[in-house]
């Protein structure tokens, strides 16, 4: 039996038994939604529908309804795309990288973090598809035998790399998530009574794939999880590296930098963890998971945010230094313009939200407070959106020819689509919170005896 050090804080609070864990995790699925859930759900659906309207308007009329112009030909769509992809990074990091490092605290949060990943990547995927203008031809990005003569994809292009990267990331994450979900769906299936809720029983029977928990199955389960984690780890790092290459392989000053891949990956982890915190701090209250998602989990995540935030700050400063050191005027101007040009406020928002504010996590009191963490996580979410806006718009709006210098302002359609994806994201997440086992209960049970607070106390007496 594995024993854990006494000084390590417990990960499961309260006097819980295996049955208590089952009951606590199944409760949101079995019970009825409360008032707050309905209010949030209706609001999200309204936002989503508004977004759908704006998307339909874009597709029906053309990209001209956005705020883009000849100089700033990429703006909100790609900003939102990168923002959502970044948010989609924490989930797989938590479930894959932390599994390889044997971090047990991941078990209480990996399910929701990965749900967030999948829903976030879905939002991200919408933007390139809408931007195509003719989304029904979106399948042209895949190398499918076709009748257009010799017209095939260009495998030298980072845009095609990211088609492959995102498709792989979305599908492999979903598979990883579902493999872990099967035993938990089985737990819910076995609790449902055929008489009281026959439809639900049928649904969970279907979802659980007939899982029965045999010893051989568990042995395979563990190996498959480990190998999938090993595969997903380089995948996480590759996806955002490839997204950054959409910019880095271009020749636009401000984009053409070799620092982009690691800098984007760190930024993605940074923003992903912030979004996980925003969601989990609300969720632990709404579905009463206080014993499982504890302040210790939040503190661990805050330490990662502090670390990645500091590295992102280092990257910002390195960028500035390299611009000056390159001796190229265009490069130097691009960065000077970012910080002091007409978009200085976006630069200030980015610097303060991403670099300065997370430094507050050095203070233990702030790091271990739910309210402070929630507020700071919102700042990070905003800051990371501005980071992408700064990189994209300020690099474009003053290009090589001063006569074509211009400003960008989003149209109501730009804003509507962005709000729509936020609505879509929360709609999916709220539905998930009511129908899925939101904590990987089978895994959690396996650490109850080593990390549960009562068991820890007993074993050290």
């Amino acid at each position: 039996m594995h024993k854990e050090s006494e000084i390590r804080d417990p990960l499961i609070l309260g006097n819980k038994t295996y049955h208590d864990i089952t009951r606590d995790i199944a409760r949101p699925v079995e019970g009825k939604a409360n008032k707050y859930w309905w209010i949030l759900f209706i609001l999200s659906v309204i936002l989503f529908l508004w977004g759908v309207g704006c998307m339909a308007y874009t597709v029906g009329t053309g990209i001209g309804v956005w705020g883009l112009n000849k100089t700033v030909n990429w703006a909100w769509d790609i900003t939102n795309f990168v923002w959502w992809i970044g948010i989609g990074h924490a989930g797989t990091l938590i479930s894959a990288v932390l599994l390889l490092f044997r971090q047990k605290w991941r078990m209480a949060i990996n399910r929701s973090a990965e749900a967030m990943t999948i829903f976030g990547v879905i939002q991200a995927g919408l933007f390139p598809v809408i931007h195509m203008g003719r989304p029904w031809l979106a399948y042209w990005v895949f190398p499918i035998p076709n009748q257009f003569g010799s017209l095939w994809q260009n495998f030298n292009s980072p845009l095609l790399w990211y088609v492959f990267a995102i498709s792989t990331y979305l599908t492999v994450s979903t598979v990883f998530w579902y493999i872990g979900l099967i035993p938990d769906f089985a737990m819910i299936r076995d609790r449902m009574s055929k008489k009281i809720s026959p439809m639900k029983k049928k649904l969970y029977t279907l979802l659980s794939f007939g899982w029965s928990g045999r010893a051989k199955h568990w042995q395979r389960f563990e190996e498959v999880s480990l190998v999938l984690a090993g595969l997903a780890t380089p995948l996480v790092f590759s996806v955002h590296s490839i997204v950054s290459m959409d910019f880095a392989t271009s020749i636009i000053p401000g984009w053409h930098t070799t620092i982009f891949p690691p800098y984007f990956v760190l930024g993605a982890l940074f923003s992903g963890f912030a979004m996980v915190e925003t969601l989990l701090i609300i969720m632990r209250k709404v579905v009463s998971l206080e014993s499982y998602i504890t302040i210790k989990h939040i503190e661990y995540m805050n330490i990662i945010i502090l670390f990645t935030g500091s590295l992102v700050g280092t990257a910002y400063i390195t960028e500035l230094f390299m611009a000056w050191y390159s001796g190229v005027e265009f490069e130097q101007y691009a960065f000077l313009n970012r910080a002091t040009g007409p978009y200085w406020w976006a630069y200030v928002a980015m610097m303060s939200c991403n670099v300065i504010i997370p430094q507050l996590y050095w203070i233990r009191k702030i790091r271990t407070s739910f309210i402070a963490t929630f507020i700071l996580s919102i700042f990070v979410n905003i800051g990371m959106w501005f980071e992408r806006f700064v990189i994209i718009v300020t690099s474009l709006h003053r290009d090589f020819l001063p006569s074509s210098w211009t400003m960008f302002s989003p149209s109501f359609v730009d804003i509507g689509i962005f709000l729509g994806t936020i609505g879509f994201f929360f709609t999916l997440f709220l539905m998930y919170a009511r129908t899925f086992p939101v904590v990987a209960q089978a895994e959690l049970k396996s650490i109850l005896k080593s990390s549960g607070s009562e068991f820890k106390k007993q074993s050290h007496e």
Partner: protein, 180 residues
Amino acid sequence: MSKKTLYAIFDDEEVLLKSVLELRSKDIEILEVYSPFPVHGLDHALGLKETRMAITAFIYGCLGLTFGGLLIYYIMISGVGKSWPMNIGGKPNFSFYQNMPSFVPIMFECTVLFAGHLMALTYLFRNRLYPGAKTKSPDPRTTDDKFLMELEIEGSDLEIKKLLTSTGASEINEKKIENE
């Protein structure tokens, strides 16, 4: 003699593990163990063979790498690439080797795509898990907090029942197997 199946239920994984070892040392065959979560060391205690899932993933990964490489080779260099050569950034369009660096991302993604999905499918196939399958567990509590050991015995069961109770089984149920 009539055959029957015994279902011994345990409340704790450590007790179960000790009981499994005790029974196996007495050469009693254990048909199956059902548990709500992976119990570490149970596969060794039951004498299960190492799973070969990781090996399949490696094979599928190699397959994916080959597929990705051949796909790119066909589209960019040999097949379509030859009939419609494109000058992309001045890169030589007749040489796979010299173009390779920019093909690495997609070859890598294909490797992961194949390894991940095909291993997951193999896992579902080997475990006979598919939408609509019925659970084989004899007791629904095995996904909650109970551990179940399944034994098949012929003849007198008193001895084994005694052994099971003394090693910590909290409950023993039985089912007669009809003689064919």
